[in-house]
Amino acid sequence: MKRTAAHWLTVAVFVGPFLALLAVFQYWPVFAMLRDSLYDFQLLDPTRRSFVGLENYFYVLTDPDRLQAFAVTFSFAAGVVVCVVPVAFLLATYLNGRLPARALIRTIVFLPVVTSAVVIATMWTFLLEPNNGLVNSVFGAFGLPRLEFLTSKTQALPSIVLMMLWQQTGFATVLYLSGLQSIPHDLDDAASVDGASAWQRLRHVTLPLMARTTVLVVVMMTVFSLQAFAPPLVMTGGGPEGTSNFLAFDIYTLAFSLQQPGVASAVSVMFMLIVLAISLLQMRVLRAKFVY
């Protein structure tokens, strides 16, 4: 076997460019982020810096604004999961049945998935506008009270959760639909023969069979929500009083408006570790066998 320079040259031509760019734009930034989180410096001149050890981390863990950003982001993710998962599950079982215009509905439900986060945030800023927005108009038509939505301290976050429900249900539904299409029909049929009602079959046959898909959907929705950036930037500016200050937006403002990239890096490191932990947890759970 001649495993010569020519062989390795071929390997380098095929795999080299990809790895080179990956190294520059993924591995190096991760390393730089870990390093930068230990320094105090400004983006205008990143070479002038002073080593501060873990001070940035101590600051993040004690500053009420930073802690609020973590709390807000996690409550948001929890809210999105709690709303999207049941809706998507029911919608998927509904769309999986015999239905007129099924393809049309699938298309409509999926439209928000191909619409950009900025466009959606912009649309919903106006949909939720207190005086002339569509949502308050619809509420009015049904005799419901008008709400303040984004300008209220207590309603801003739930409003963004509502928007995420609209935005992400299509994606979660597609995941559930592909899960539903892969489960065997005989269990459902057997339950039907035994006289189980449609609701009982859904609750005791379909739902347990969808456990894997549910794990996937929960993780995807959590990760998507944790990464949300456009809603605070476009809709609320993180307010009122920091009640919609998501982590991604906090990192952005810390680094680029407040010129504290060291602190922003410390938040980024913690954020990255959290997202990685969730993703790895997903892998472990999905590899485990589900026994019924």
């Binding site: 993924q26 991760v30 409509i108 999926f110 950009s116 994606f171 990760v223 980024s268 997202v275 990685l276």
Partner: protein, 281 residues
């Protein structure tokens, strides 16, 4: 029994209409209002009627202003350039790497793939600061190249193509090798023509993500002439300003319609590709 059937039928209809209304109404309202004067938008809001969703005196003034005064044409061109370059770059790098990892035997191939998979899970949101410093160091800040170059080595693309390449029987390239074809020849005339579906899926998903990307372009671009369409849309609603509703809606429409048309025609690839972004790991 027939009454129960009828009730079920009506119930089903109500659910159907509610689902369609919930997901479609925002689009209809935005698109319709982008053809209205600001005063007409407000006047049509209460009470709610068909006028809310269909312009009674349509005007294209908003869209004309968008292109004449707000430079949206330029932003659309910038977005198209960035997205097309990103698709092209991703296709080149990922097909080469996927071929290298599936068709050339070399020591360390598994380690390489594991290294790539690890970056799959890294959220961009955590990397924006160091990535900005890196891209600035390469003097690519505020350039369109800087917008797409960090993403062309796409772990998702490699993952998707590796799967497709693996499914292709190796007998095909062995036959070609006996005929004297080298790696580049096999890559170009045997493997690539046989994975067209995967290439189409990857192209569409990459185009979608590139066109819709917001955070990274916002970080890396600063001058207005380089703004991509998502930035142009976001700037029309910056909190604390009094926005022009009609123009903003027209911007939203212009930014979204190209993708929706693409999606309606190529839905199959989109749904497949986007569902695949979820099955990593």
């Amino acid at each position: 029994m027939t009454r129960l059937k009828l009730l079920q039928w009506i119930g089903g209809g109500v659910v159907l209409v509610a689902i369609i209304a919930f997901f479609l109404m925002p689009y209809v309202w935005i698109v319709a209002s982008s053809f209205k004067q600001q005063s007409a938008i407000f006047a049509d809001m209460r009470p709610l009627s068909w006028r809310t969703f269909i312009p009674s005196q349509p005007t294209v003034e908003n869209i004309v202003n968008l292109f004449r005064l707000r430079g949206v044409g330029r932003a659309l061109v910038n977005s198209a350039v960035v997205s097309i370059c990103q698709v092209a770059g991703t296709l080149v790098l990922c097909t080469l790497a996927a071929y290298g990892l599936t068709r050339i035997r070399f020591r360390g191939a598994n380690i390489v793939f594991a290294l790539v998979l690890m970056t799959f899970l890294l959220p961009l949101e955590s990397l924006m600061v160091p990535l900005y410093i890196t891209v600035s160091g390469l003097r690519l800040q505020d350039t369109l190249v800087g917008v797409f170059i960090p993403w062309v080595a796409s772990p998702f693309g490699l993952f998707l193509l590796r799967g497709a390449f693996e499914e292709l029987p190796r007998e095909l390239d062995e036959a070609a090798r006996i005929d004297g074809a080298g790696h580049f020849r096999i890559f170009w005339s045997i493997v690539l023509p046989n994975v067209r579906t995967a290439l189409a899926t990857l192209s569409l998903v990459t185009f979608l993500f590139s066109w819709n990307a917001f955070l990274w372009p916002l970080v890396v671009l600063s001058s207005p002439r380089n703004a991509v369409i998502q930035i142009a849309v976001a700037q029309s609603v910056a909190p604390g300003q009094l926005p022009n509703w009609g123009e903003t809606f027209a911007g939203v429409t212009v930014a979204t319609v190209p993708l929706i048309i693409l999606f309606l025609f190529l839905q199959r690839f989109f749904v497949r590709g986007i569902a695949m972004t979820g099955v990593k790991g």
